[in-house]
């Protein structure tokens, strides 16, 4: 894999002193994070550590209560406020893939892909379908275009979900445990698609426990616990030489079964 020089790249996501509570529970504490263009970040940590909440704050599926979150859209820095215009502008640039796929079961695969481009980007139907078919070819399931999600395997559904997010031509992709709901033999087909995407220069934030993926793809691995970023480092350093006690404990738990 080519070594990228990220230092000169502009920041596309900025989180500054972000805090969030679920009732009394402090789910995110003083999160500071700068994501550079084309950077791939893997976020790991025990369940309940706030890693999913963190990336869900970036496209406003969750609302943060203190601090600022900003995303660069078309060279402009847009801050995430309650302004619906800002939220919609950011969501157009940020694609998301969920643990449970969340495909629309009543629409065909093709309609799943073209819905947002047609209605959000006002793209002509023909053009949207052409893009959708080329993306389905990229995730290697063009022959399933006219089927319904329920007729596909989990791995195929998740690849469709990735294609659906890509259909909006986003600059940034968020992955929320994309392989956790899959049968083991289907994990690889999804990871392969994600690796391809990474190699093409997509900015990616991936919440996952797939440490092999982190090792080979990530520019930076972030470890979260109790709503805080405990440690962040390039993967080689992160796995070889974790500095924090909690990181070491976590790694020992997931790497040695």
């Amino acid at each position: 894999m080519a070594v990228r020089n990220l230092n000169s790249a502009p920041a596309v996501i900025e989180l500054e002193q972000v805090n969030k509570w679920f009732g009394q529970f402090h789910v995110l504490t003083d999160i500071n994070l700068l994501v550079k263009q084309s950077e791939k970040i893997v976020i790991c940590g025990p369940s309940g550590s706030g890693k999913s909440t963190l990336i869900r704050c970036i496209n406003r599926l969750e609302e943060h209560q203190a601090g600022t979150i900003a995303v660069r859209v078309d060279g402009q820095r847009i801050e995430l406020t309650n302004d619906v215009k800002n939220i919609e502008a950011i969501r157009k640039e940020v694609g998301m893939v969920f643990q449970s796929f969340n495909l629309f079961p009543h629409l065909t695969i093709l309609d799943n892909l073209t819905l947002a481009p047609i209605w959000v980007k006002k793209m002509p139907k023909k053009e949207a379908e052409a893009i959708a078919m080329s993306l389905l070819e990229r995730v290697r399931i063009p022959e399933q275009a006219l089927k319904y999600p329920g007729q596909l395997s989990g791995g195929q559904q998740q690849r469709v979900a990735i294609a659906r997010a890509l259909c909006m031509r986003p600059q940034i992709m968020l992955f929320d445990e994309p392989t956790s709901a899959l049968d083991p033999e289907m994990v690889k087909e999804v990871l392969d698609v994600m690796i391809e995407l990474a190699n093409e220069g997509m900015t990616m934030l991936v919440v996952t426990h797939e440490m092999g993926f982190a090792r080979s793809v990530a520019d930076r691995v972030i470890f979260m616990d109790f709503g805080e970023i405990v440690e962040q480092a390039p993967p080689a350093e992160f796995f070889a030489n974790p500095r924090n006690e909690r990181t070491r404990l976590f790694l020992s738990q997931i790497l040695h079964h």
């Binding site: 629309f104 009543h106 997010a165």
Partner: protein
Amino acid sequence: MSQATEAGQVAPARLPPTVDTGAIAWLRKNLFSSVGNSLTTIVLAGLLVWLAVWFIDWALLKATFQAESGQACVGTGGACWALINDKLRLIFFGSFPYEEQWRPLLAILAMIAMLVLSCDRRMWNWRLAIVWAIGSFVTFLLMFGQIHIPVTLIFVVALLAGAGGYLLRRATAPDMERIAWIVLMALGALYLVLRVAGVIRGAAIPVAPFEYVETGLWGGLPVTMILATYGLAAAFPYGILLALGRRSNLPLIRALCVGFIELIRGVPLISLLIMASFLLPLFLPPGVSFDKFLRAQVAVILFAGAYIAEVVRGGLQSLPKGQFEAADAMGLNYAQKTAFIVLPQALRVVIPPLINTFIGFFKDTTLVLVIGIFDFLNTANAALVDPKWAGFPGEVYLFAAFVYFCFCYSMSRYSKYLERELNKGTQR
């Protein structure tokens, strides 16, 4: 070699267990599987046969089909269908002028045609609007005999159709079509502005091929069908709006919807009808009056809307949160999310309870008799008043029940068909 592969060998495919088929096997398995079952089968079958023989004897063999009066039926031990025969037009059309009763008959046929066409899924687009526009126009023209179409209404429709068409097709339509929608919208708006400013006077286009018949004379099956069809057709979108409002993030809208639903569900339909019929006129300024039929229709719509709202809410709540999140993450706005993701799935889930509500309301329209509107059951009742035919209520009610059953059973079957049709493809 053969030993080496033994462990990895694929087990030979086995045939599925044999299935007994044929009528005898089915009978043995389902009806005569044990002594107790055999006895139950024989006793119940005997009872069924006895009932069927008795009914055929009463309803067909000993029945009187033609007679001058009820006298002919006394002592025959059979049904007096002659009564139905004699009173058929009263039962179906009530007090609609006798010579003009071909009009409600055609109106019934027009409505049935409209409803049957609406059942086809391929019609669920702009065609539906056209079918309903034509169907409704024909129905009410036949029933009233004369309709005066306000010119303003035509332009309001133009404005709404233009706006709707533009909003829905803006993204995908070619330029020419977009311009056509805008022109339509502009024409409507221009007329309304001039009308409000007083430049143009209000006018109406009269369509008056027949003798005018006021709603007070309507009766029988057309009344039941109009109340149910337009009641439910209006209550359905209105109930959906209430259900969406009940889940709104805006506290005021939510409170209004919850308040309305609870208020309406908290009172019987009869009290609502009586209120619409007797109390509402007291609150209106003098000189302003609504037709009694229209008031009953509005009461039915309000009532049905509240119930439909609760059914739809069940469907909305059954949707997994992930569906909303996926739609949000893709940048769909509230209207798009609701129209393309939420409602298609929510309504699919609630087809059985929704049709259940529809069937209930079809029958509940009979309650309009308390405010003196002659629906089908009420005109059937009226047929009993004639002393010439006194003493045969069973036949009349059985006939009325049969007609209601035809409608309700059709709806029930349609519900089954629709469920199957909509779930095609979405299941493995």
